[in-house]
Symmetry: C2
Subunit: 114 residues, 2 copies
DNA sequence: CAAATATGATACGGGTCCGTAACAATCAAA
DNA sequence: TTTGATTGTTACGGACCCGTATCATATTTG
């Protein structure tokens, strides 16, 4: 089953969503942060810094810093892997789930007018 | 006619799009820059700094700086309003149109797999 | 055990963006 | 004409992110 959007619908939807996100006062996540957050929530765990760096094709410090930022916002959390203590396991949080839930609802509602 | 996306489809689509944009090497536009670019291309002219600042609910320097950045990339251009030389009219460019066309095509293609 | 490898974090210099406050240019009104 | 509004830009100090190189810790290998 395909969503089957047209280019004009895509641009209108992105315009409305971007405008809604710019207008509200919450701290906007960067594209990289959003990629990380969505990957953590949509793909099966475990998620490590190395895996995310490879998946996004960015360096490891990019992931570490993004996790620092989103950790302060409590959108993700980190825990040492007890099986291999070199690894850090990135985990979901309630706030992160709510953030994405609200985001999805916003987009769904805007998509109704298109 | 409504696009009628579900929350799960929204998150999957955004994930795929964000990942594609992070991976390619082109300079990513910020959310604010994207809002401005889409507004210029989707809404009827004329567009002035003041109008955009009011529409996005941000300060005028934010608009000026975003136009500086996107002007360097030749995604938008500026021209003085000869009727009222205080105003600056923001205009579309060929590169800007191509940028959004490519972006829309990317999203459309990704939406087919969802 | 010692050496090599793997993982994530940190340091550093540079770039971009932000918000507020000032500013020059232009127009309108007195 | 002179005073006051309006428009867009710039200045400044601060925050954030980047890429590369380096580091500490942990594991694997010889």
């Amino acid at each position: 089953m395909s969503v089957a959007l047209t280019p004009a619908q895509v641009l209108r939807l992105w315009h409305d969503v971007a405008l809604a996100m710019v207008r509200d006062d919450e701290p906007d996540l960067s594209l990289r942060q959003m990629s990380i957050l969505l990957t953590i929530y949509l793909e099966a765990p475990p998620h490590t810094v190395r895996d995310l760096a490879r998946k996004l094709e960015v360096s490891k410090p990019v992931i570490t810093r993004a996790l620092d930022s989103m950790g302060k916002l409590e959108l993700v959390s980190r825990r040492r892997d007890e099986k291999d203590r070199r690894n850090v396991l990135i985990q979901r949080t309630v706030k992160g789930a709510l953030y994405l839930e609200r985001f999805a609802d916003t987009v769904v509602n805007l998509s109704r007018s298109i």
